[in-house]
Amino acid sequence: MTTRDAVQRGGRLLPVVVNDRESETRTPANRLYRIPDAARDPFAPCPPAPVVAAAESDLTRIAPGRPPARGETIAIAGRILDEDLRPVRRTLVEVWGANAHGRYSHVADAIRNDAPLDPNFYGFGRLVTDEDGRYRVRTIKPGAYIARRDISWWRPPHVHFSVVGSGVRLVTQMYFPGEPLNETDFIFLIVPQVDRGRVIGEPLTSTSGDRTFRFDIVIRGRFQTPPDADE
């Protein structure tokens, strides 16, 4: 490596998740390259938010009027904020997770997992944030599942979140407080200790109805006001 190469690289060296074969074979071994300052224009995609039906944020029913999914219904609610802590308005939030038994409705999970499917739970939904960057989803508290039997690696209950649009891009996972499996999960443990509170939902007290977790998401990048619909 030349000196200039080393300077230009200057970006992060991405950590590898211990015992995760896919992380070990897919994580770049070289440092990331810094983007030249002059060209740091919007790298984050800014797709127009799709039109999303209100029912898509309720994962507990596969269609309005159908029976509820098995397990404990929970709500997850919060705000999406940019690096200046301004609300990210009208951005798409996609949410997915396992069912109460720890099984995903994904063909790839059928190979590994003998936990049952729930005919009334697909485990994915989406919504668009409001003018204050707020979102709320109803889902089922996901079950834990075993990621690698040979080393007894269990994944704790978690819900996947994706935020795309309005000049920000983030994929993360929300964990639940007080779960002993959090402490032995390699994907949770790769989060720097100081940031772990950021990925644990905060139980809200004195709510009526569903048990609710607050999960605010703060994303690097500056929110850009989307153009008006008729622009």
Binding site: R4, R12, R26, T27, R34, H106, Y122, V171, R220, Q224
Partner: protein, 204 residues
């Protein structure tokens, strides 16, 4: 200074429904619609490999690009180049079992680095990459028949020409798609000896 929500992998069970929630073919605005975007239809065939040289299936790429005139549908792009009503420039695709995806899109136009500047960005596609085992990765893909590559500030910021070349898609002769004016191919190697360069978009 705020602290940020850490990123994480999409894991192995990313819902297929999210793929079809966005366009997967930027030639077509709707089935049987007579409307089409402006510019030259092209195909990018991208193959994704791991450190063992094995194809990476179920990898998700979000493509983001300028239209044929070099304009992004982004509120911060205030250039005078026109928007194309039929082109948003965003597509989300997944690799097949052989680690390959085919993007049908419009060849993006060149555009100034910043508005009014004489310095130009070569035509390129912006890729955001997700897969089980990795967090979000970003990079850009260029085309081997574009003279502006020689002065593109992002491509040329990679000092080693052999590394730089790994971001340049090669033009193929012919295309399996009858409507394609050009077809390009590229291997993206996530880790290993011929590793593709990836960029860091965090502030330093």
């Amino acid at each position: 200074m705020a602290s940020f929500t850490p990123e994480a992998t999409i894991g192995p069970f990313y819902p297929g429904a999210f793929l079809t929630g966005f366009s997967q073919d930027l030639w077509t605005v709707a089935p049987l619609a007579a409307h089409h975007p402006q510019g030259q239809p092209m195909v990018l065939v991208a193959r994704f490999l791991d450190s063992m040289g094995q194809p990476v299936p179920s990898l998700v790429v979000e493509f983001w690009q300028a239209n044929a005139h070099g304009r992004y549908r982004h509120p911060e792009d205030q250039s005078e180049a026109p928007l194309d009503p039929q082109f948003d420039g965003f597509a989300r695709l997944r690799t097949s079992e052989d680690g390959v995806m085919r993007l049908r899109t419009i060849k993006p136009g060149a555009h100034p680095v910043v508005r009014g500047s004489g310095e130009m960005r070569a035509p390129h596609l912006r890729l955001t990459i997700f897969a089980s085992g990795i967090d979000r990765l970003i990079t850009q893909v260029f085309f081997d028949d574009e003279p502006l590559n020689q002065s593109d500030p992002v491509l040329q910021s990679i000092p080693d020409p052999r590394v730089r070349e790994r971001l340049v898609a090669r033009r193929r002769t012919g295309s399996a798609d009858a409507g394609a004016a050009s077809e390009y191919e590229i291997d993206v190697i996530l880790r290993g000896e011929h590793e593709t360069p990836f960029f860091d978009d965090w502030d330093q």
